[in-house]
């Protein structure tokens, strides 16, 4: 079902069905092993790993390379989602199709929970995946648009550290901004 490349080691990420047997997949591809901070091992194709500018520059700096690339501070869940996204982007690079790419990106984002999105941002930032960071930032901005202050606090899990008086004063200063926000 999947490509004909030999992959003897276990991969912890859920490998997606990769239906198109195009020329790319026929070549034996080099794999790179990433290790998340919670000790999960991810085997990804080199082309995918090279989407991560951080990993790429690591290999450029020390071509002799290591067996496993540790990613401190990056946990498995957001990392697997980031890998999933980058895998698709590689396909779009090989066969540019803006409409399909837009569609995929939109679906990828809408099916993610608020927490998933927020958790992926520092990972995309750390790995320096600019395209992903851009779509994540925009998606988060879209989700907090026209929401109440309390909603935004909950969204990001932020505690209110203003005193009641300070908060009242802030609201007075721009009373118009607090009217007519979304209910939820």
């Amino acid at each position: 079902m999947s490509s004909s490349t030999d992959s003897p080691t276990l991969t912890t990420e859920t490998t997606q069905l990769s239906p198109q047997p195009d020329t790319e997949t026929a070549k034996p591809t080099k794999k790179i092993t990433l290790k998340s901070s919670d000790n999960q091992i991810f085997e990804v194709e080199e082309s995918v790993a090279m989407e991560f500018a951080t990993v790429k520059s690591f290999f450029e700096d020390s071509p002799s390379s290591t067996d496993i690339v540790p990613l401190p501070n990056v946990t498995a869940k957001p990392l697997s989602q980031v890998i999933e996204f980058c895998k698709e982007q590689i396909k779009f690079k090989a066969n540019p199709d803006e409409a399909q790419k837009k569609k995929y990106n939109a679906e990828f984002l809408t099916e993610k929970s608020d927490k998933d999105l927020v958790d992926m941002i520092p990972v995309a930032n750390y790995l320096e995946i600019k395209d992903l960071l851009d779509v994540l930032n925009q998606a988060v901005a879209d989700r907090i648009e026209n929401k109440s202050v309390e909603y935004v606090r909950n969204f990001f899990g932020i505690d209110n550290d203003f005193t009641a008086e300070e908060e009242a004063a802030l609201r007075r200063e721009h009373a118009w901004a607090y009217e007519g926000v979304d209910e939820d």
């Binding site: 951080t54 520059s57 690591f58 700096d61 020390s62 290591t66 540790p70 401190p72 501070n73 927020v118 941002i121 520092p122 930032n125 750390y126 320096e128 960071l133 851009d134 930032n137 925009q138 988060v140 901005a141 879209d142 907090i144 648009e145 026209n146 929401k147 109440s148 202050v149 935004v152 606090r153 990001f156 899990g157 932020i158 505690d159 209110n160 550290d161 203003f162 908060e167 802030l170 609201r171 200063e173 721009h174 009373a175 118009w176 901004a177 607090y178 926000v181």
Partner: protein, 153 residues
Amino acid sequence: MNWLKSFKMEIRMDFMNWPDQHPSLKILGSLEDPADLVRVSSVCRSWRHFVIANGLCKRLCLRIFPHFLRVDCVIEPSCGIEKPSEFGCSKFVEWETLKREHKTYAFLAQGCLSFPLRECILDAISASSTDNYPVESIRNTLQLGDNSEGRAS
């Protein structure tokens, strides 16, 4: 070890780390309604500082209304232009300016986005930047007091 060198970004990671630090500039910079920015600036102290320090209301206002690029500085009728070196602390003055800009540009963007005001204020600004500078400069024709509560006076 080379590895440590290439992972100096851990610091940046902290900066982005929710929820105790700042939201990214990109996220808040993508908001297109001044009301969103104002509400976001009252989420917590660090967010307020972030919005003001980065002049996000001003940026948004200038993005929607490039006319305001001609505005030199904004003042509030009650407090005049920034107090000179009495305090001897330029950081303080700078911060006060940023706070004032946050407040004023939020009003301005909001005011200009509401229809009847839009032409009225933009006309005034075009007019004020034509002749007789500085007596008829924007500074003297457009004041926060004229725009209180988002309505024209």
